[in-house]
């Protein structure tokens, strides 16, 4: 357990039926930092986020936030400290954007009380933070995928979480919106929030995360600072693609240049770029 706050997950295991989805995962994200959860499809990223958010219970392992055992928290108290912005979100006909964002206040208010002044201020600020002001009165179901993604993030923010979990927050977003979302995550971390985001885009993770955790088949195969973890051998072993990792000329952070699908995933030597090999197994 660290004592600077933040998320501490130890030996988390979770099986659905007889399929082991999360297999002894350890993750630490210090308070005030952005962690990125990486891994190919089916690696267990979403499930792990659900376990941390309390949507499902791990079969084994310990989860702590700021030193407090999450399993001991009541569901509502947990929801006051952890919010989850989901990847796929269903339609919700008839709800306006401001009402969707206000759902984030659910764990903070009782059944009979309406939104208080402070709740309204938090909702307004969350809407503002994601530039949703012009959409505030629109029906959620009329929004584009990218707009919905921003509304979901605003809702998660309105929950005022210590720990913000995001599942593919940049899905459906154009480049500018992707970068501004990640800037927002950086700002939130600077204010003391702990952020853990599952990301598909290694480049975004390399450019914005403080730490990355790479999952494969439910296990952590690497974790640490992006420039330590994201090296060609690992990228090839986990994702089956050939890539060069350069230094960004301006930011100095790792810059990932893909050169093609790797021919043989078991070969961990870093090959030079070569033509795309056909018949690559599940990426």
């Amino acid at each position: 357990m660290n004592d600077v706050g933040g998320l501490d997950a130890a030996r988390i295991r979770f099986a659905r039926g007889d399929r082991l989805i999360v297999d002894g995962v350890d993750i630490t994200v210090p308070a005030g930092s952005v962690g990125a959860l990486l891994g190919p499809n089916g690696a267990g990223k979403s499930t792990l986020l659900h376990l941390i958010a309390g949507v499902e219970r791990p079969d084994a392992g310990a989860l702590a936030l700021g030193g407090d055992d999450l399993a001991a928290l009541r569901r509502r108290d947990r929801a006051r400290r952890i919010s989850l912005a989901e990847q796929e979100v269903a339609e919700a006909p008839g709800l306006r954007v401001s009402e969707v964002v206000a759902l984030g206040r659910t764990p903070h208010i009782g059944p009979w009380s309406g939104l208080g002044e402070r709740d309204r201020a938090v909702v307004a600020r969350s809407i503002d933070e994601l530039d949703l002001g012009p959409l505030a009165d629109r029906d959620y179901s009329t929004l584009s995928g990218g707009e919905r993604q921003r509304v979901n993030l605003a809702r998660a923010l309105a929950q005022e979480p210590e720990l913000l979990l995001l599942d593919e927050p940049t899905n459906h977003l154009d480049v500018r919106a992707q970068l501004s979302s990640l800037d927002l995550l950086r700002r939130l971390a600077a204010r003391g929030h702990t952020v853990l985001a599952a990301l598909h885009d290694l480049g975004l993770a390399a450019a914005h995360a403080d730490h990355v955790v790479v999952l494969q088949d439910g296990r952590v195969v690497a974790s640490g600072a992006p420039h330590d973890v994201l090296e060609p051998g690992l990228i090839r072993a986990v994702w089956g693609v050939d890539a060069e990792v350069l230094e960004h000329p301006v930011t100095g952070r790792p810059l990932i240049a893909y050169s093609g699908v790797a021919g043989d995933r078991s070969d961990q030597r870093m090959p030079r770029a070569r033509p795309v090999a056909a018949g690559h197994p599940e990426a």
Partner: protein
């Protein structure tokens, strides 16, 4: 990146903000409470007026003033001014019937709204998902066995069994509950329970079986008395209050189970408790009125058009709108073909069928 100090929950977003202060300039969301309040006030007045006017409708030439005088006299506030016969028509015949209609309409509309949220199915309704026919079976069996005291309990058990059968069948067929599959499963359950109701009545063969079968299957408020008012009204208050209090939980279900759980809702427990509540309420209502259809479908959708989908507005306004709707539907049922009475469910189906069709056409993603 600075490791910010640990921030207490509930105060995180405001702590150490780097953003410019104009961020808070944005207007807070419009006060939806005001609009809801106006609708609630308007519908309450309309309901009170509807009850009084509906009592005057029919033979005997009563005026609203007569009804008012009779009500005051029975509450011990005024002097009786009507002849005992006319007072009896107001107080013993029509008033209990109109109030029962109001309570049944209120409860069915509330059940529909709650079920639509919990099953994320715009077509959910106590009648369409089979609860009402299950409740009818329970009620009819108890009546035949002659243990009338157990009537609401048996109806509740019937409703619960039917609900479990519908949801079980739908999820076994599809793996998950899709709206149309759920309605199909409800149709199957309704058919079977409707047949059982008819068989039990035929088998017992007391009096006018056909009429009695019709009243249970289509719903009727004929012959309701103050006991009916007590059962239906009591159920609406006792079960309706906790259901309305669950508005926030129901809102949280709007984006599915995962989102609800992440907002701190006990998903499984809430769903079971609230659905059991709707079965309990449906059972009590059906035990006095039979299976009146579509009220739970029509009114919540109409109310959504007025005030949107937030349940804090939707539930109370559905209660009021359902009460008004069934008061007038029943008034039509007992007067349109006077002296013959129409089972009120025929009228509600006449309106509900087209509403159902519109919902089907509108919801392309229902399958």
């Amino acid at each position: 990146m600075s490791i910010g100090g640990r921030v207490a929950p509930g105060d995180t977003t405001s702590a150490g903000r780097g953003a410019p202060p104009e961020a808070t300039r944005l207007e807070t969301p419009a006060r939806p409470g005001l609009r809801t309040g106006l609708w609630a006030g308007g519908l309450t007045l309309l309901l009170a007026a509807s009850v009084i006017v509906a009592v005057t409708v029919g033979p005997a030439g009563l005026s609203p003033a007569d009804v008012w005088a009779s009500v005051l006299a029975h509450l011990g506030i005024g002097e009786p001014t009507l002849t005992p016969l006319r007072d009896g028509i107001v107080w013993e015949l029509r008033m209990p019937r109109v109030l029962t209609a109001a309570a049944v309409g209120a409860g069915l509309a509330l059940c529909g709204a709650v079920m639509q949220a919990l099953t994320r199915n715009p077509l959910a309704d106590p009648y369409l998902l089979g609860l009402s026919s299950g409740a009818s079976v329970g009620a009819v069996i108890v009546i035949v066995l002659g243990v009338g005291l157990l009537l609401p309990v048996a109806a509740f058990v019937g409703a619960l069994v039917a609900l479990a059968a519908t949801l079980g069948l739908a999820s076994a067929a599809a793996g998950r509950l899709t709206p149309t599959r759920t309605v199909l499963a409800g149709l199957a359950v309704t058919s079977v329970f409707g047949a059982i109701t008819s068989l039990v009545i035929f088998w017992s063969a007391t009096g006018d079986s056909y009429r009695e079968i019709l009243n249970w299957l289509l719903g009727s408020l004929a012959g309701t008395d103050w006991t009916s008012v007590a059962i239906a009204g009591g159920a609406v208050v006792l079960i309706g209050v906790p259901l309305v209090a669950s508005a926030r939980t129901l809102d949280a279900f709007a984006f599915g189970d995962t989102a609800a759980a992440a907002l701190g809702v006990h998903v499984g427990r809430s769903r079971v408790l609230l659905l059991t509540g709707t079965a309990l309420l449906t059972g009590a209502l059906v035990s006095v009125s039979g299976a009146i259809g579509f009220v739970g479908l029509i009114l919540p959708h109409a109310v959504r058009l007025l005030v949107g989908s937030r349940h804090r507005a939707l539930l109370p306004l559905s209660v009021l709108a359902g009460a008004i709707f069934l008061v007038w539907a029943d008034t039509g049922a007992r007067t349109l073909f006077d002296p013959r009475e129409l089972p009120v469910g025929i009228l509600t189906a006449l309106i509900g069928g087209p509403v159902f069709a519109v919902l089907l056409l509108r919801g392309r993603r229902l399958s």
